[in-house]
Symmetry: C2
Subunit: 356 residues, 2 copies
């Protein structure tokens, strides 16, 4: 052995260059797949890099080419989110990464602290240029963050819709038609007094959900009663409160649609305390996680989808608005409502006598 074959800690591309006895520029070109470099030397460079464990310093690279190869997913982890979001984000993240990794992009999650204004937090992250592009989640009905990103000219997409940021790219669960189908199904079972739960925050999905519900009622000629739209946290506790509200109503609904399946746990509990059996005395339809719903007693009728695939779609949408990658995804539809599939359970299986 001639000299140090032992991989001592890499300092930078310079060390690698003088170890190979070629210029630093050539090494860089070799590593980055640039055309004008001999295939023979490229192999040597790659081998040496692998052996010495060299990985390009991100700060240097970012500084030079103004790009970080990192995509940020901002999550607010608001109180409500912490209660309800489950592994929603982790699952979507899996889908996102499966696409990003093909382009050597890394995904990081940016959790906005509870006590910081999301807008300010985002502004800070944008200014620090720590990411090349951003994915926003938990979109509000009006959400100033879109204007911020548009003004900063940072590519972005959203996990969820918003009225702000005209025509911004997004992918979102089809809350609208879920509410629609749920009403349809319940009406077909003879129900006409149907309650619905919506989130307490101004998150846009609540509005979309409620609009789908309202539209379905109208289609069936059922009058809209605001008292049946119940705001509650998307948690077991929230489900308990929903049931509480329902029991308090004089003309008690015979069915209820929950925006989050775990709410059913609290709701079941509360109505049973009142001697009411879910699936027999009251119909319940939930949303979003079929495997979980199956284990409730009675099994919750629910809507299922692949959040992973939603992540894939969203990743492609984002890349299609990033100049450096848009040629890979030229004809992408920039706004995707993600379908869900009904999974029948026993929680709404009974028919009201009034139905024929």
């Amino acid at each position: 052995m001639v000299d140090g074959g032992k991989p001592r800690p890499m300092k930078g591309i310079r060390q690698l260059a003088e170890h190979l006895d070629i210029s630093i520029g050539t090494v860089s070109r070799a590593l980055n797949g640039k055309p004008d470099v001999n295939e023979e030397t490229r192999k040597r460079v790659l081998a040496a890099a692998e052996q010495l464990g060299y990985v390009a310093n991100q700060s240097g690279r970012s500084l030079r080419q103004g790009t970080t190869n990192v995509i940020g997913l901002m999550i607010q982890s608001s109180r409500e989110t912490v209660e309800n979001s489950d592994n929603f984000f982790l699952t979507v993240t899996g889908g996102l990464q499966s696409v990003f990794s093909r382009h050597n992009l890394d995904l990081i999650m940016l959790p906005c602290p509870h006590d910081e204004d999301p807008y300010e937090y985002l502004k800070r992250m944008v200014a620090r240029r720590i990411v090349d592009a951003l994915i926003l989640s938990e979109t509000q009905r009006v959400d100033k963050r879109f204007d911020l990103l548009a003004k900063a000219k940072i590519p972005f997409a959203a996990l969820g819709r918003s009225l702000s940021g005209t025509q911004h790219p997004w992918a979102d669960l089809d809350f609208d038609s879920v509410a629609n189908s749920a009403v349809d199904r319940l009406v077909a079972h003879g129900h006409r007094r149907i309650a619905i739960s919506v989130p307490t925050s101004d998150i846009n999905l609540g509005f979309v959900f409620a609009e789908g519900y309202r539209r379905a009622l109208q289609r069936h000629g059922i009058p809209y009663d605001p008292a049946l739209v119940i705001r509650a946290q998307s948690s077991e506790q929230g489900g308990y409160q929903v049931a509480d509200e329902l029991l308090r109503l004089e003309d008690r609904p015979t069915a209820v649609i929950l925006i989050y399946e775990l709410m059913a746990i609290g709701l079941y509990r509360r109505v049973m305390e009142a001697g009411i059996i879910p699936g027999r005395d009251i119909a319940v339809v939930g949303f979003r996680e079929a495997p979980r719903a199956k284990f409730l007693q009675p099994a919750l009728t629910c809507f299922r989808t692949s959040l992973h695939d939603l992540g894939v779609e969203l990743a492609e949408i984002l890349l299609s608005v990033m100049p450096a990658y848009s040629h890979f995804y030229p004809d992408t539809n920039r706004q995707a409502t993600w379908p869900l599939e009904l999974v029948p359970g026993e929680s709404d299986a009974f028919y009201l006598p009034s139905a024929k």
Copy 2:
């Protein structure tokens, strides 16, 4: 108005300097609170920076001073994690951030893709120098990642213990004494044949949990039966499978300890299918989330803790091993087992006839 008061997009500290008509070095010193700068000019600089919306480019800063002011929390989001971890991470993250933000450190989450080896992923992240320090989670019993970090001389702490990385700093839930207390309580109720669920993966908490269980049995003179230690996913599905296993045993246990409270949903379901009523025919004790457990029917006896405060503790532990911050937390205990508190429910309230 003299000239452009309108904040046009900031290019860098240079623009800011010539706008103020002072040197770039002084601006930098002013912004960073260095001593040798006139208080008067510092005020002017800060005001101008605020007005023009200048924020230091992170790449430039990182390149120069070799520090990023970012802490990474690596999460693996393995299949099992996605099923079970819930908002565990988001809640702990809140605690972490409440400490980090005091030091102007940002926390990002690094989700390792399912199809990538965690070790390789971590190596990549370390080499790219995207973070100053790292927090590992979902620690395996033997976990090579600790050696990697030690070798790379990157400050780190772990959310969870491991046998690797001798004396590495960590904070962890006290799985040991939870299992202990659960057994104590069940034995006091007259149970002697007590099953326990552990994770399917090699995550260390499963071993710790099982050890506490085993130790408690020994203390009570109850023989250890390996058939009663049931490996299952920490999910509703897993709970269902646990119940399945229990029902298949010839000498059926009268009590079961679950490592994750949502497993109770599946377990309840399965045993009720067999005509067995939880809380009457079989005692169930769960773990980790009291507010959720309360809404199960019967309410699950459970152990509660503040994951937020666990995050706070972990953050302080990490900072205490970071040279730049260690003087803030000089006498921190570097290894913290986090206590949990029993929340009695109805799922284990009954006493076996054999108990006096």
